[in-house]
Amino acid sequence: MTAGKRKTGLVFFPAFDWAISPTHPEREERLLYTQDQVFEEGLLDLDNIFEFKPGIATKEDVERVHICVPDVERVTTESHMISAGGAITAADKVMSGEVDNAFALVRPPGHHAMRIVHGARGFCNINIEAVMIEHIRRKYGRRRIAIVDTDCHHGDGTQDIFWHDPDTLFISIHQDGRTLYPGSGFPEEFGGPNAVGMTVNIPLPPQTSEEGFLYVLDHLILPILDDFKPDLVINSAGQDNHYTDPITDMQFTAQGYARLNDRLSPDIAVLEGGYSVETALPYINVGIILAMAGLDYSQVREPDYDPERIRQSADTTRYIERLSEGILGLWKRREEQKRKIRRDSEFIRRRRSVYYDTDHISEEQTEEVRVCDDCGGLVTIDSTANHATRIFAVVVPGGSCPACRRKGEEIYGSRSRGDGPYQHIYFQDRDRDLYLVK
């Protein structure tokens, strides 16, 4: 343990009456055994652990982050609004000083949801951390925030949402995209032209064990956080790196998760994936809660825990050491990298295809950002889903400079629905908390 007892808030919302489908991993009993273990251990009775009922996020909370096509109601259910609301409650309890840190143990998850939402991808509809972060900024002021995503899958949605944001550092540690959904998250994905280095991807080889995860934490993530000096650290606490997870191939443990959380010491942790509902989640969650509360977690382990059986190979260890060194070098040369990417462009464009595996939607997207040293830069997006629904969005960033704002207003004003190929034209002003649709 690195710290004494802390006041820890827990927002627990297992949504026992909600599933994507009856045998889908994201189903009713996902947190049932976690509830059993947390209740049986008596964690809610501890004098420094406080349980809070989640709030319900509003349409405005979602529109501050996403452009939902055609609208918020059509792509979300109550469960998503409660899950995001739970993350917001956790944040409010920390920001108001009622607790020292908080864990939103809620479902469904959100880190695969990108800025534009045509439907669900990777079991996610809206990005609950992003909704929470923009709520924090709206209510408590512009903060430098670091997100450390420890889910086994690349947090591509969170990456997309904060790609151009120089005030949000997004670090994702995940199983190598060549071996797992969503297939992205390589070190070369390093942030947009106005936020170079603000996205850090750490793809780990399959079979990485406690040793590898903690090495990366100590030798890469913590040094980068020391440089960035965030006001808040948020952990997207996916739990699918566990050695018993049915849909991934890693060797992490409850004890490892607890140590990682202890050393990272996040202000807010938000549950993401993790589908070994019976043999991993109960123990990981008890470990994380104890670690956050600054209590002794050394006795937490799975019934079948055997460190020998899950030890990573020497090759894996060497690979991870080299990888960490490489990425740290990249981080240190981020300014140089920025100049290379920008050259003298006024706008930089990227084109990509996004697949919504949960809802079987294919999206084609062209995104343009105004190169800007004074803010995150104006962004415009032209998006077409299933060759049918086409929309155009103008996004003015939080803390926008006058030039980006002027330009954004001008573009939105010059377009009208019906005289072009677009069903809808959206204007999201993150600075003035304004959302318009035509």
Binding site: F12, F13, P14, A15, F16, D17, W18, P22, T23, R27, E28, E29, L32, Y33, Q35, D36, Q37, F39, E40, E41, G42, L43, D45, E51, F52, K53, P54, I56, E78, S79, I82, P246, E278, P282, Y283, V286, L290, L295, D296, S298, Q299, V300, R301, E302, P303
Partner: protein, 559 residues
């Protein structure tokens, strides 16, 4: 006829009710803390005559016996054998120096993740025996999911101790630390409680009645007294439960309501949802120990009739100390009671002394005695109203775990405020105004506790878990663990649950006409391996909820 007796800390009250549940006689005597039977005898003899005795068909008792034994530490030394496995560090679970940790534990699915070591159990038992310990608690983590491990430990030490308390018998609820505390308390008061039961039964035999004797439990329900002797811990906080059941018995509402018992030192707050008193979600707390004992929810605050009132840095403070009676009764400091006397809200006490109290208090704030009394009264009512709002807020914001409850969950909005206790009449109207409730002053409030005990129905609860993948059913409160077919359904579970609840309630002395069952938890989950459903996890909890027995329709004596 029913005889209701409330053996309280100060007074012992007895009431005799006829078949229409009307109070036909009542008595109040001082409690003899050294020998409760003496008080019991005295109160009873004042209201019972030979004729009544023959007509008596039940005797119900509420008593601070168990609570006092714990509070005054008149308990036996208890050895504890704990089998918890990984999780919280064991040292945080140690309850006393006689706690022994042994290997072996059960997982959340009810599987024995590690077996016990016979040698270790024997060594633990021997070391405790050597110290002269005769009462043993045996508690395992998740023993509510599979009591087998606790039972095996019990078999190994059988005969070595006078009494064994098993964790799984205390409650079907999860919470290992609470299970440890509950089992410990059960073992600690087992002998003193059993003696008390013997004394009571000897006494009733002596006076020549064969009417069954019941005891009021913390949940506001009764249990036949010799049944209660197996789980004495269920009778802690019988007193506060009697007070809530008393208010319930003197009112007729089926609405959401607040009940206040305003005494000298504290005010107890309880809530009714649709006329039913609320239970603590996990269990009651006694002497700072959180337990799994099913009990009515009460909140106690140190603001009441005799609270000391003073100015502190320009702020008026009421309580939480009580330094003696009101000045109007010769007490040392001004109190809310003095203020109420000055305001003419009550006619008790010495008016001049009360005025002097307000004079002293007012001097510091440059206010007349009348103004001061008004400020004190407002402040006192305000503090109580704030506490009620806080309790309501807490209950209405209690975490829930389904979308349905999130969106449709019951919100308690009290319409009525029942007030009992000394200052009830003086304070009820103003408190009602503050809380937006219609004030109600129950009749016979002075013996409410005894009436509440007399009319409380027998309550109990059972928890059924069926795992159709492992093909096992558990009803832990009854120690049942049996095989079921893989096609076992939720309907089967509900059927068995109802049946077992009935059996249990009848065994505890319930009357057939009061067996009003309620399913309080009803969950069914698919267990999936890969992408196939391999079984169901069914969880049902059923109860006979706290409430009053029903009078027979012909107005005659209930059987």
């Amino acid at each position: 006829m029913i005889l209701g007796i409330d053996v309280g800390g100060t007074h012992t009250d007895a009431v005799l009710l006829n078949g229409r549940f009307e109070v036909v006689a009542s008595a109040k005597v001082l409690t003899n803390p050294e020998n409760l039977i003496v008080s019991f005898r005295e109160a009873t003899s004042r209201i019972l005559n030979g004729g009544d005795l023959k007509q008596l068909e039940r005797i119900v008792l509420s008593t601070t016996m168990s609570t006092n034994a714990i509070v005054q530490n008149r308990v036996d030394r208890v050895g504890m054998i704990l089998a918890g496995g990984p999780g919280l560090a064991p040292e945080t679970l140690r309850i006393n120096e006689d706690t022994r940790f042994i290997s072996g534990y059960v997982s959340h699915r009810g599987l024995e993740a590690a077996g016990t070591d016979e040698r270790e159990v024997r060594d633990a038992a021997d070391s405790l025996k050597k110290k002269g310990i005769r009462h043993l608690g045996i508690v395992g983590k998740f023993s509510t999911r599979n009591p087998g491990l606790e039972q095996r430990i019990g078999d190994l030490v059988e005969g070595d101790f006078e009494h064994l308390s098993f964790g799984h018998r205390m409650s079907g609820n999860l919470n290992y630390p609470r299970r440890i505390a509950t089992t410990y308390l059960n073992a600690a008061i087992w002998r003193v409680y059993n003696r008390f039961v013997e004394d009571i039964l000897r006494f009733t035999a002596e006076i020549g009645t064969t009417a069954p004797v019941y005891i009021l439990k913390a949940d506001g329900g009764t249990s036949e007294i010799s049944q209660s002797a197996k789980y004495p811990v269920g009778t802690i906080l019988s007193g506060p439960a009697a007070s809530i059941m008393g208010i319930l018995s003197l009112t007729t509402g089926k609405e959401d309501a607040v009940a206040l018992d305003i005494g000298g030192t504290t005010t107890d707050i309880a809530l009714f949802a649709d006329g039913v008193p609320l239970l603590e979600p996990f269990g009651v707390t006694i002497e700072g120990r959180k337990t799994l004992v099913r009990g009515l929810q009460t909140r106690s605050i140190g603001v009441a009739g005799d609270s000391r009132v003073r100015w502190e840095q320009g702020e008026l403070r009421v309580g939480p100390e009580r330094e003696g009676p009101a000045m109007a009764f010769g007490g040392p400091f001004p109190t809310p009671t003095d203020a109420m006397i000055v305001l003419g809200l009550t006619k008790i006490g010495d008016r001049e002394k009360a005025a002097a109290a307000m004079e002293i208090l007012g001097g510091e704030a440059n206010a007349s005695p009348g103004e001061t009394a008004r400020i004190v009264f407002e402040k006192t009512c305000g503090l109580i109203a704030d506490a009620v709002r806080e309790v309501l807020d807490e209950i209405n914001n209690k975490p829930v775990y389904t979308i349905h409850e999130m969106l449709e969950g019951k919100v308690i909005e009290p319409k009525v405020l029942y007030v009992v206790g000394g200052p009830a009449e003086a304070m009820a109207p103003r408190l009602g105004e503050m809380l937006g409730c219609r004030p109600g002053l129950p009749k016979h409030a002075e013996v409410a506790n005894a009436v509440g005990a007399a009319l409380a129905r027998t309550t109990t609860e059972i928890t059924l878990l069926a795992d159709t993948e492992k093909k096992i059913l558990t009803i832990v409160e009854e120690g049942i663990r049996q095989d079921i077919p893989g096609r076992f359904s939720r309907d089967d579970a509900l059927f068995i649950c109802r049946e077992k609840l009935l059996e249990r309630a009848l065994k505890m002395g319930a009357r057939e006409e009061d067996l009003i069952m309620e399913i309080i938890e009803d969950q069914e989950f698919n267990m999936v391996r890969g992408f196939y459903t391999t079984g169901k996890n069914i969880r049902i909890k059923a109860q006979i909820k706290p409430g009053l027995i029903s009078p027979r329709k012909d107005g005659g004596t209930p059987s």
